[in-house]
Subunit: 456 residues, 2 copies
Amino acid sequence: MQPSFIKELQNIVGEQYTLTDRESLAVYGYDSTPEIESLPGAVLLPGTAGEVVQIMRLCHGAGVTVTPRGSGTNLSGGSLSGGGVVVQTSRLNRLLEIDEENLTATMEPGLITSALHREVESRGLFYPPDPGSMNISTMGGNVAENSGGLRGLKYGVTADYVMGLEAVLADGQLLRSGGKVVKDVAGYSLNPLLVSSEGTLGFFTGITVKLIPKPQGKITMLAHFPVLQDAALAVSAIIAAKVIPATLEFLDKVTIKCVEDYAHVGLPLDVDAVLLIEVDGHPVVIAEEAAAVAEICKKHRCSFFQTAKDADEALKLAAARRTALSALARLKPTTILEDATVPRSCIAAMLKVIQDSARKHNVTIGTFGHAGDGNLHPTCLTDERDTDEIKRAHAAFEEIFDAAISMGGTITGEHGVGLAKKKYLPKLVGESGIRVMRGIKNAFDPKGILNPGKIF
Amino acid sequence: MQPSFIKELQNIVGEQYTLTDRESLAVYGYDSTPEIESLPGAVLLPGTAGEVVQIMRLCHGAGVTVTPRGSGTNLSGGSLSGGGVVVQTSRLNRLLEIDEENLTATMEPGLITSALHREVESRGLFYPPDPGSMNISTMGGNVAENSGGLRGLKYGVTADYVMGLEAVLADGQLLRSGGKVVKDVAGYSLNPLLVSSEGTLGFFTGITVKLIPKPQGKITMLAHFPVLQDAALAVSAIIAAKVIPATLEFLDKVTIKCVEDYAHVGLPLDVDAVLLIEVDGHPVVIAEEAAAVAEICKKHRCSFFQTAKDADEALKLAAARRTALSALARLKPTTILEDATVPRSCIAAMLKVIQDSARKHNVTIGTFGHAGDGNLHPTCLTDERDTDEIKRAHAAFEEIFDAAISMGGTITGEHGVGLAKKKYLPKLVGESGIRVMRGIKNAFDPKGILNPGKIF
């Protein structure tokens, strides 16, 4: 990057917020995705939306690419720059307003997800999306990736809560979409298009989300299943009984062993699967729902069923699921965490495909995830220096993605396409899908300045 | 339209399903929008998605425009053709599947909305969107317009339920988007973009919607408010008390009088406003919520509060709201029904703007609508032959739209832009909004074949 150009960037955000030293660039040269690295040319930490506008105008004019970045928890390489400018949102982190009359919260993109949770819950309100990385992830990143979490089954994902966006387009123009109105059909729906656009259509500078009343109570349950198939059947049976738990999570045998070794939460090592189930809402309703869940799990031959007696015990039961990824990640240097997603009814079939592929390609895959959503996280424990094993891991995942597509599922339920899944996208959306997506990109960013090389 | 071209159309759908006689064309020359008419060149009634593909290919090649049409209940001129081919969906009306395990329903676009309601409710399931026209509107039209209804406050609108779409693009290519997976972030979100695209991006041939368990119970309440402002305050207070009713509807004095003259449901003629409130869900919960609603209404000086004793009485109370439009429409030959929408907290201010504008421009406007959503229906009773009054009506609505925009609201909450609101859209979405919307249109339909002249 030319010194004169760096100077112009410094003029916008200030010298101390323009990082170009080798160490800083190295820090921004990777995100949470294994196997992919890419040093940026410079990293900027703007303090106002106005500075973002100026950065975009300058880079657009100079033909320099811009990659928005939050906390870098991206799992598909979406926050890697390919040599251009990274614009990081940590200084744009203010919670601007909680509007209790309209049930909305408005914030800058760098606000940490769990900070929003804490603030709204202290007022008796609730922002449901809770991605695994919520203690470090930013709301801007959550919106760009349409993050899910453990409460998606009942409450949906980030897209279901975004009401208004302010975005700086590639040429520096401001786009305002939606706001605090709960219904708006004036022209094309730009909000849901910007949500999950992975930083390729606009740089978010303002976000307004919908809040809901905080559920009055919650019951947390854990069930052990000696036979995998029984756990999958129990998931379907719970939904078929018209109980929609807030959380309906699954751990397989590999994951259970890792979690127990790591966290010592008292999981059994002789069962095929564990389900973590949480129902929330009015105390009377959740008591009925919990009773129904217990009965269904017992009917499906669970060997053990526990209902948390209090909040502490609930946290302990939920810890089994919350620590799954960390526990798995300890075993080997490289963790490839995937998120193939299928219709809920195909969970059992999908688990079989994952196990068969792991065996066939001789790789270790632990699977956990959002069973109620059909959104599993098959996680391959490997070492990126072992090129042969990595090759086999990718062969296994290719089979898993193909199976997901053939079941009417998708290659990614919550992590995005980014760089990591580009080659699978055409299989899923077809020639016509790619064509219109490229056309949409062109409508927003004809010069291809914003987060280049992602998605397609 | 050339006879040779008509012949080619007949070869696709059959002679009996190709309407070109003067009477038929006249029938399709208007929809539910006042003041706008436009004769099509031909009307086609295809029987399969394959025929739709062939129609699109033929018209695309010949440069003939195609306007999709359901039951023609559109309120913004969105189903008028401007002289091209109208493709009507009445023969594509099959409910293809209700999948109780995945909680989805899949259908063709011509299925009548209330037919879907009946079928899913008979299985203990629920499809919440219930636009006023649900007994004649089609699901394809609901998706194209992102229809709302009386249950939007708690349950959202059509966009919140569309999981999968099959659409024929302008050139005849098939696009499949989403499906039965509840989470999908593979590339740009095309589903919500196609929803509310008003027939300009694709012709829907298949629709998959999300279902939820049917609420176990419902309590219907009616409250009379001598003072308008008190009714508006009660609306805000109910939400602030963290009660989210399924329905929270409003009628003003003009509407009350018309409804009473028409339906004789026992409404008082000496009050400023009536609220219809329905809470639904678990019996214990709704009993508590209903008690809270009653207390809030009384605290806000309602002069009368009634809770329906049974389903019959509930229907009677709801009839006041359900008949509002028909009742108003009897008074004068032309009814201009608008849907300016504001943040919920601005309802009282918006009602004042509507009353002031009506008085200033000497027109009769009755207002009813979805108070909980901030989505009012100011309805001007006029006569399109009275050009002076029509001019004054439009002047009043221009003020109302400007006020909605200035309050952070929108020019249309559920009826779409179509032809009727094109001139207001740039004010709302700005130059950058129009530019990206045009770009999106171009990505899907570069020749501008599909439903020309709508939105922008």
